[in-house]
Amino acid sequence: MWKYVLKRVALAIFTIFIIIAITFFVMNAIPGGPFQTEKAPDPAVQKMLMQRYNLDKPLWEQFFIYLGNIFHGDFGISLKNGREISTIIGESFRISAEIGGIAIVVALIPGLIFGSLAALMRNRWEDRLIMFSSTVFVAVPSFVLATILLLIFSLKLKLIPVWTVDNPNYLLPIIALALYPMSYITRLTKSSMLDALGQDYVRTARAKGVSETRIIFKHALRNALIPVITYLGPMTAYIITGSLVVETVFTIGGLGTKFVSSINNRDYPLIMATTIFLAVLLVFLTLLSDLVYKLVDPKINFE
C-alpha cells in the first residue's frame, strides 16, 4: 500500500515538474521580450533591466530561478496592471473554488440518485426520461448551456439576478458547470448498478430474505460506486476547465475569467502562472481521487 502511494506521489511530483518546464520553455519561445518596446530604451538601461530581472542569464538558469520563485509563491507581476500575480490568483481562486466545490457535490449526489433510480426502474418511463435527458445534456457545450441559462433565467424571465460582487448568486453557474458531469455520473451509475444488481451476491442476499433497501444500499450501491470514483479525477478536470467558460459567461471575477482575459490580453506571466496553478491543482486532485479509489476497491491489490 505505502509503496503504491509513494509511487503515485513521485509520479505526481514529476508531472508537476514537467508541467512547469513545458510552460516555462514554451512561453519563452514566443518572440519578443518584455523590454523590447517601440521606443528602444538606452542600451545601458536595457542591460541593467535585463540584469535586474535575470534575463541576461542562460535560459536553463532562468528556469531554476523561476522554479525557486514559484516555490516561494512568487509568480512575478502581471503585464496588464502590474499587480502581484500571487495576490490576483489568491483572491480570485476563492470564488472559483467555492463554485467548483459546490458543483462537484451537485454533480455527484443527484447523479448517483438519478443513476440508481434509472437502474431500479429499468425500462419504465422514469428510466427513459432520465436516460434521455442525460444523453442530451452530454451533447451541449458548457458555454452554450451557460449562455442559454443566462438568457432565459436572468435576462428574459428575470428570475435570478445577474451575478455581482455584492449580490453573488451562484445558482446558474453551478447548474451550468454541474449538468454535464451529473449526466455522465448518472449514466455511469446506471450501468454499474445494473451490473451489481445482476451479481450472484445480490441473488444470495435476496434468497436470504434481506430487505430490498438493504440490498440496494449495502450490496449494490457500494459496488456501483467504484466506477464513479474513477470518474472523480476527470470530473475535477472538467469542472476546472469548464469554470473558465462559465465564469466568463456569467462575468464572475474568479480565476477562470482572469485566465481567459489574460489569454486575450496576451498577458504572458499571468497565463503561465494560472496554467501552472490550475495544472498543479488538477494533478493533486487526480492523485487524491486515485488514492481514494485504491482504498475503496477491495479487489485491487497494490502491486
Binding site: M27, T135, A139, V144, A237, T275, V283
Partner: protein
C-alpha cells in the same frame, strides 16, 4: 460387430436404432449449407446496427448534415465572407436581419422584378448571410473533428501496437512516457500551446499554403497529435496484450496457425471494433475542444467561421438576436449527439465483449 459397439438394446434405453438412419447424399448436404448463409464479423455487426433505430437516425442526421455542407454552397449564391450587395453596391441596411427577411434595399429590388435568394438564417452584424456562415462553420468543425481523430488514431495505433507487441523493456519505457503525458491536463496544455503557436507559427507560415488553414487550426491539430493520442495508445496496447493471452490464440497456435493468420483472424477482429468505436467518440470530443478554444479566443482565424466561434460571437447582442446563438449551438449539439449515439450503437453491434 454391431453388438460390440452398441450393447443389446434394452426396452427403456435411449439407444438409437442405426438402421433407421442413412448417410446424407451430396445434394442434401448442399441444401443444408445453402440454408444458412455464412456471415462474417462485419456483416453480423451491420445487421445488428441496422436494427438499432437510434444509431440509424444518427447516421441519417449525419448524412443530412454532410450533404448540406456540400450542396448548400453550390445552391446559395452567397459566400461566407461576402457582405450582401444589391446591384453591386454594399447594402448597409442588411445588418442583423431575422431569418427569412429582406433588407429595405433588397425589398425595393424585389419589387422591381429582381430575384433575391432568401436569407434562411438571416444575416450577421457585418451583413453577411448567416446560413452560409453556419454551413461553412459546420464544415470547419467537422473537418477539425475528423482530422484530429485520424491523427489520434494513427499515432495511437502505431504507438500502442509497438508497445503491446514488443512488451518487456520497450513497453515499460513507452508506457511511462504515456503515463506522464496522460497526467498532463490536456485543455490547459492546449491553451498554452495555442497561445505560443499562434505567435510563432504565423510568422513561419506567412506566404505558404498552410497559412490559409490558419495557425490556430494547425495548432489544434499539432496539440491533438502531441497529447490526445495517449488514451488511444493505452487502449490499443491493452487490447493487444489481453487478446494475445487468450486461450483461442494458444489453440490456434497449437493447431499450427501462422502468426499472420492469428493477427488477421483473431487479434484484429477483436480489437478493431473497440478502436473504431473510440475513434467515432473522439470526433465529438474534438469538436467540443475546438468550440471551447474558439470561445477562449484561440479558435479558427477571423473571417473563417467555425461552429464554436459563431456561437461565442453570438453572445454579443444575445438579447436582441438569440437565434444567432441557436443555429450554431443546435448544430453542435446535433452533431455531437449523433456521434455519441452512433458510437453507442456501434459498441452494441460490434464490441465482442457485449455479444451474446
Amino acid at each position: 460387430m454391431d453388438n460390440e459397439i452398441f450393447p443389446k438394446k434394452r426396452p427403456f434405453s435411449m439407444q438409437m436404432d442405426l438402421s433407421k438412419f442413412s448417410p446424407a447424399s451430396d445434394e442434401e448436404k448442399q441444401q443444408i449449407t445453402q440454408m444458412r448463409e455464412s456471415t462474417t464479423f462485419f456483416k453480423d455487426g451491420m445487421r445488428k446496427l441496422r436494427k438499432d433505430p437510434l444509431a440509424m437516425i444518427s447516421i441519417a442526421v449525419l448524412l443530412l448534415i454532410v450533404l448540406t455542407i456540400f450542396i448548400a454552397p453550390v445552391i446559395v449564391p452567397y459566400d461566407y465572407q461576402e457582405m450582401i450587395a444589391v446591384d453591386g453596391v454594399r447594402d448597409r441596411t442588411a445588418k442583423n436581419l431575422p431569418p427569412f427577411t429582406y433588407s429595405e434595399n433588397e425589398q425595393a429590388a424585389i419589387k422591381s422584378g429582381e430575384k433575391i435568394f432568401p436569407h434562411i438564417f438571416g444575416t450577421d452584424q457585418l451583413s453577411r448571410d448567416y446560413f452560409i456562415r453556419v454551413v461553412y462553420g459546420t464544415r470547419v468543425s467537422l473537418t477539425v473533428g475528423v482530422f484530429a481523430s485520424i491523427i489520434v488514431l494513427i499515432i495511437g495505433l502505431i504507438y500502442g501496437s509497438v508497445s503491446g507487441y514488443f512488451g518487456g523493456k520497450v513497453d515499460l519505457i513507452l508506457m511511462r512516457i504515456v503515463d506522464i503525458i496522460y497526467a498532463l491536463p490536456d485543455l490547459l496544455m492546449i491553451i498554452l500551446l495555442s497561445v505560443v503557436l499562434d505567435s510563432t507559427l504565423s510568422r513561419a507560415l506567412e506566404g505558404t499554403a498552410l497559412a490559409n488553414i490558419g495557425t490556430n487550426m494547425l495548432s489544434i491539430f499539432i496539440v491533438f497529435g502531441l497529447l490526445y493520442w495517449v488514451s488511444m495508445a493505452r487502449l490499443v496496447r491493452g487490447q493487444i496484450l489481453s487478446i494475445k493471452e487468450n486461450e483461442y490464440i494458444l489453440a490456434a497456435k497449437a493447431l499450427g496457425a501462422k502468426s499472420g493468420r492469428i493477427i488477421r483472424k483473431h487479434i484484429l477482429p477483436n480489437c478493431i471494433s473497440v478502436i473504431i468505436i473510440s475513434t467515432a467518440l473522439q470526433i465529438p470530443a474534438a469538436i467540443f475542444t475546438e468550440s471551447f478554444l474558439s470561445f477562449v479566443g484561440l479558435g479558427v482565424q477571423a473571417p473563417m467561421p467555425s461552429l464554436g466561434s459563431l456561437a461565442s460571437a453570438a453572445r454579443e447582442g444575445l438579447q436582441s438576436y438569440p437565434y444567432k446563438l441557436l443555429f450554431p449551438a443546435l448544430t453542435i449539439c446535433l452533431i455531437v449527439l449523433s456521434f455519441n449515439l452512433l458510437g453507442d450503437g456501434l459498441r452494441d453491434a460490434f464490441d465482442p465483449k457485449l455479444r451474446r
